[in-house]
């Protein structure tokens, strides 16, 4: 049982996420090629590569709180990703950083992080669940994580969020998109997973990976 996650975890999370985005870059891009404009994987890879470069530089040494790590992620994604995903992920991490500005997160803090991120995206993109966007994954993450928080295991909350996001991403497959580029395709958008929902599931799975590394150590 992991009761608390600290700034080191957040740094590991971001590094894991960057590695996973790199590994799955072409899959994400292919999903976006099918129902968007074929750049989602490349956009995120460019952004997370820049985040890792900043973590490796002088900015990376002074990060005492989870919130500070997430704020660095937010500003870097906002100035390097572009497209729809840049401001959306940027806002998610920015809002998440505002509720996590302390050295250690407990189970409730993890839930607050995920909730703030999801709300940030929904408010920025004016999307609701069912529009076939990353909101579907974030929303499912929050729904799944909420009931687990009372047990007090931060890792379990994170795991529930990640599992929820994965299920939410899969659930976008049959949907017809009504937000973002995929909406231009109308019914032809059904049958393909939303790339942003897919990357959301990846990013939250990376958070679990990073927490498990802490658990083992």
């Amino acid at each position: 049982m992991v009761t608390a996650l600290d700034a080191d975890w957040a740094v590991r999370w971001v590094r894991c996420a960057a590695a996973d985005v790199r590994t799955h870059r072409d899959e994400l891009t292919e999903l976006d090629r099918l129902i968007g404009d074929g750049d989602h994987g490349v956009n995120l890879d460019r952004g997370f590569t820049a985040v890792v470069a900043r973590l490796d530089g002088p900015d990376g040494t002074r990060l005492a709180t989870v919130g500070q790590v997430l704020q660095l992620v937010a500003t870097t994604l906002m100035s390097t990703v572009g497209g729809a995903a840049g401001p959306l992920y940027g806002t998610a991490f920015l809002h998440a950083s505002r509720v996590t500005d302390r050295p250690v997160l407990d189970a409730a803090g993890v839930l607050a992080l995920v909730e703030a991120a999801g709300e940030g995206i929904a408010s920025r993109g004016h999307a609701v669940p069912g529009n076939k966007t990353m909101v579907d994954a974030w929303h499912a993450a929050v729904e799944a994580a909420g009931p687990v928080v009372t047990a007090g295991d931060a890792l379990a909350v994170l795991r529930a969020a990640a599992d929820g996001a994965a299920a939410g991403a899969l659930a976008t497959i049959p949907m017809t998109a009504t937000k973002g580029r995929a909406s231009y395709l109308g019914e032809r958008s059904a049958g393909t997973q939303d790339p942003g929902a897919c990357s959301t599931a990846l990013v939250l799975a990376a958070a679990v990976e990073a927490a498990q590394a802490a658990d083992a150590s």
Binding site: M78, G83, Y184
Partner: protein, 331 residues
């Protein structure tokens, strides 16, 4: 995929280097963040006109920087909206003291990044107005879509706004004219082949040899539906009909007819398509008084074209005719 490129990740930067070197009299390129600015900057007291968006649509927008059109343009990665800090830097640079008009094509990414950029520029004391271009009739403007896209009609809006700024109009007046232009311009496009984004390395969609995509955007995204490949007459008729059905002219209007190539279409085919399109427009009682034919709002090397009709009035005609000096549009 074969392209005249080196590192795909550097393709936008390499092209900007060439643009700057070829047109030092017209523009300069700034880096970190990247934007293109008119040589000498916005004339003091004039409204700055700024646009931008993903790269891959050249000459839009960077090729329209100069006098009489854009004071600055912000190129993102290929088909990817520029970041908010790029846009904010361009908005600030283009302020000649009379405020700045941001011309935004209606895509989620562009809208989100420009929104943030406008807030950032306003924090720095720059007065900014925005106008959203959404001329693509292929997309239904309903609660089931992100709204109509901005496509080739953007050129018309940029020309009108740039000419209004050049004659010394206020920000309010320039924005008003740009909105009037948006309200009167409509476009519909067709793709004969897909394009290949450099870092993707394969075509953006798969299209059988005997079909064309009707209602495409300018990002290599598939269109609304596929039809058997017809001739220029068939395609021009479909495009013009869609555009005019939406504009619903009463008859007797004077219009600009703009046949735009998607990047890989020979000029001769564009002129042939223009001839067919013009016949259809005039058969509906509308008079073509201004024309533009060429590849101005492109999707990399995509083969295809779009037809744009803009309903003119005396003021819009005068603004269209006003002098312009940019790499891609000069008269």
């Amino acid at each position: 995929m074969k392209k005249l490129l080196d590192d795909p990740a550097e393709a936008v930067t390499d092209a900007l280097q060439g643009l700057a070197a070829a047109h030092p009299d017209l523009l300069t390129v700034h880096h970190e963040p990247t934007y293109v600015q008119r040589a000498g900057g916005t004339p003091p007291g004039h409204v700055g006109v700024v646009s931008g968006g993903g790269s891959g649509h050249e000459p839009l927008h960077t090729g329209f920087v100069g006098s009489g059109m854009l004071d600055a343009a912000v190129p993102g990665a290929v088909f990817t909206s520029p970041t908010a800090d790029q846009v904010a830097a361009a908005l600030k640079a283009a302020d000649g003291g009379a405020g700045v008009l941001a011309i935004v094509k209606n895509y989620t990414g562009d809208v989100l990044n420009f929104e943030t950029a406008v807030e950032l520029a306003q924090l720095d004391g720059v007065e900014v107005a925005s106008v959203l271009v959404n001329d693509d009739v292929a997309v239904e403007d309903s609660m089931y879509t992100a709204g109509r896209r901005g496509v080739a009609g953007t050129l018309f809006v940029e020309k009108v706004a740039g000419a209004a700024a050049a004659r010394g109009d206020s920000l309010e007046a320039v924005a008003g004219l740009a909105r009037r232009a948006v309200g009167r311009v409509r476009t519909m496009g067709v793709a004969l082949s897909a394009c290949t984004v450099p870092h993707v390395g394969r075509p953006s969609f798969d299209l059988p040899d005997d079909e064309v995509e009707i209602g495409i955007g300018i990002h290599g995204e598939p269109g609304r539906h596929r039809i058997p490949a017809g001739g220029a007459r068939d395609i021009a008729t479909r495009l013009v009909d869609a555009v005019l059905d939406d504009l619903a002219p009463a008859g007797g209007e004077q219009v600009l007819l703009f046949v735009n190539g998607m990047g890989g279409t020979p000029l001769s085919e564009l002129y042939g398509t223009y001839a067919r399109a013009r016949e259809v427009v005039e058969a509906r009682g509308v008079r073509v008084v201004r024309s533009l034919v060429g590849s101005y709002v492109t999707s990399l090397e995509m083969q295809g074209a779009s037809v744009t009709v803009a309903v003119l009035d005396d003021e819009l005609t005068a603004l269209w005719d006003a002098p312009v000096r940019t790499p891609a549009l000069t008269w």
